[in-house]
């Protein structure tokens, strides 16, 4: 080995890799999201990271977006999944006969997008999705169930959010009412980016699409309509009697009524017609949650209603509604802004320090304490002083010193590292002392 040239250890850029004590915090967030999903009656699904290209690229007719990691293995064209929705569609289409509907599943897993690496963008990231899929039909109450879940998840994460809700039928119908039914898609693309490009640019782009000056104002006006849910909905309800528009209004009204019944705090959501969510597959309710204290974080959770989940794979109509949290990005933002819960250098609660030839006895003690607290024996070949200093640096709350005298007397020297207090106690009393101090 020594003759070999060393390879510089490095990882691919754009891939998050946390220090273990931070990973502990990340995993804790995953556990909370998982619990919230599961307690709400969603069951876990874990589809493979790899899918047949034919399946994953159905939407684009097989052409590979440059973001997608695609490769050949033998004769098989393979892609790494870039979201959890297409695999869900494939799964439901494949297992339609066995599933009972509405099918409520969550999936927490890594997805891959080989986009240009930039700050806050990751090529591998953990997505936390929950969806409700119906067979043939799915009542609007399912939309409220998802919105309720968004609320529940962020409450579990102890993060205050505001969920901005709209219904795409409102803008669909509004465009139709103004006589632009054929250009609706293009118009929505422009309206979706008003925030980014500004009102003036939006107007000139709309004008290019053939929208009259007066209609530009109307379109931008309704898009920028946002505020308290019920009163804003009331304000806009009579703008047009277009059927689609009124469908949007009435679906939102129903959603609002259910959210109230579910006890969702009305300060936690608004009506915001500007929420469009690019993807064409949304067909009704859409929502995006932001953190009001940090609007610059952008959307931390989004989702909506779609008419047909798996139209590429099956004739069965599978309407659904879902939500998605990009956890890797959210975690990174919280971390950058000092908003993560406390993370100590270690999870060790008790470290046992052998003094002299007492390792065997230390292990006996370790086995005893491990039933209740996270315990390790520091068997390093270093000075006692160095070990104590290290334990302090690692913020280990308790250290137990076990010398030959302690072994004989069965009274061990327990040091509370926060208070500096030293006590000579039996192992039972040591444990009591530790547990009461740790608040267990």
């Amino acid at each position: 080995m020594t003759e070999q040239k060393l390879i510089k250890p490095r990882k691919l850029s754009g891939f998050m890799e946390l220090a273990p004590n931070k990973q502990l915090v990340f995993d804790d967030m995953v556990a909370k999201i998982r619990a919230a999903y599961q307690q709400s009656g969603f069951l876990p699904l874990d589809t493979p990271v790899l899918e047949l290209s034919e399946i994953l690229l159905a939407k684009s007719g097989g052409s590979i977006d440059k973001e997608v990691y695609a490769f050949k293995k033998g004769d098989t064209d393979i892609c790494m999944r870039y979201d959890l929705t297409v695999p869900l569609a494939r799964y439901v289409a494949m297992n339609c006969e066995q599933l009972s509907f509405p099918f409520k599943r969550y999936q927490i897993g890594k997805v891959y997008r080989g986009e240009r690496a930039q700050k806050g963008r990751f090529r591998e990231f953990v997505q936390c999705d929950a969806d409700i899929v119906g067979l043939g039909e799915l009542p609007i109450v399912a939309d409220a169930e998802c919105l309720y879940l968004v609320n529940k998840v962020f409450k579990a994460l102890n993060i205050e959010i505001i969920n901005r809700i709209s219904n795409r039928n409102i803008l669909f119908g509004f465009c139709e009412a103004l006589g632009y039914a054929a250009q609706t898609s293009d118009i929505l693309v422009v309206l979706d980016k008003i925030g980014k490009i500004g009102k003036e640019n939006a107007i000139s782009e709309l004008r290019e699409l053939g929208v009259s000056e007066g209609d530009c104002d109307k379109l931008i006006g309704i898009t920028l309509t946002a505020g308290e849910f019920d009163s804003t909905l009331e304000k806009i309800q009579a703008y047009t009697d277009n059927e689609l528009y009124q469908k949007g209004i009435s679906e939102l009204r129903e959603v609002g009524q259910y959210l109230k019944a579910l006890g969702v705090d009305q300060k936690g959501y608004t009506l915001d017609i500007g929420i469009i969510r690019g993807q064409n597959y949304y067909t009704g309710t859409v929502f995006e949650a932001i953190i009001p204290s940090h609007p610059e974080f952008g959307t931390v959770c989004g989702g909506g209603r779609y008419d047909n989940l798996a139209g590429y794979y099956t004739d069965k109509k599978l309407p659904g509604v879902g939500l998605s949290i990009g956890l890797t990005r959210l975690f990174d933002l919280l971390d950058q802004n000092g908003m993560l819960p406390e993370h100590k250098p270690t999870n060790i609660q008790l470290q046992i320090l052998p003094l002299g030839d007492t390792l065997t006895e230390c292990l006996e003690l370790q086995a005893y304490f491990l039933n209740s607290v996270v315990t390790e024996v520091n068997y390093e070949n270093r000075s006692f002083k160095a070990k104590l200093k290290e334990a302090n640096k690692k913020e280990i709350p308790f250290v137990l010193v076990v010398g030959e005298d302690e072994v004989k007397s069965k009274k061990y020297s327990l040091k509370n590292m926060a208070t500096g207090e030293n006590s000579q106690l039996s192992r039972e009393d040591c444990l009591k002392n530790i547990l009461s101090s740790l608040g267990n």
Copy 2:
């Protein structure tokens, strides 16, 4: 969409995909393993699934094993990880200065091997690794710590195992003592497969390596030595005074002493000189756990001691010891043999059935019950009878019927699906009834 030709939904072969209620059981096993690792003071690491080929293929000098999923993205040669050890080596070499040693990390994650698909072999599988890495040196007690952890994990999983332990120095030294030091590697390859190819074939392969007939008997004899740890160790300790051999004996003796101190049940492990563990990087303690009631499952957990984790990436000497559980394969075996814990079709504990126009009230009740039990409202557009039948089929333990009379009286009709008992109760009493019946 309807004009489009449908794509048959299918997944790649050799990839496990569980039904959600089974996934629940799988996730529960992961949670137990995670908890056992964490409570023993190991911290989580989550390295990317993708690594630079240069890093991942360092061992083979850059040549790609046909098992490895490798591809190019732009100018970058990328591989999917095929184990969690090489990424650990890269991580430790990269972050040496920041880590404190011994570094105890666990990683539970998917790894990829594009081998020929066959029953019980998966191309994507979850590996659950825990390792202790020292800087410069790592005392033998760390080996015992890993063996203790194996025991702890399987106890948490409620699976009885026997851990078969050896030390590679014993066979290294034995070969050396017989005068075959130069052929040790080749000899170990043969000895490692006695179980597969049989004694006769092993002898003829050894003879081809130039081993004398008498030495063949000796080598096979010691390799087949297995039994109760202490007495078997005593039996073989004086076979030769070769230094390596005696190092192996004394390391094992130390391990045995520590396992006793840690309270590991002596019925849970044996000494078995036939445990070799192919990979050349093991240099001391090696072990493989089997399930004694199902020896045909083969090794369900294995690991051992290595001298130098990251020799390809750093000059620093990083000895370590670790264990690895191939969870996907283990789960599949348990499943095939009816050994999984019970998995019900759903985790729903209470289903609320609206009768008439009571959906809003049902949602209020759902929000109330969700604080304590997994509750859903069945808002499907189906007959009451069909819904009740479905709830029964799904083994949902409680159903709450909410008609207009119930809304008025605030007494709801709670049906215990197991006993068939019906009660008219306030929501508070419903909850008490449910919780006491679920044993919470």
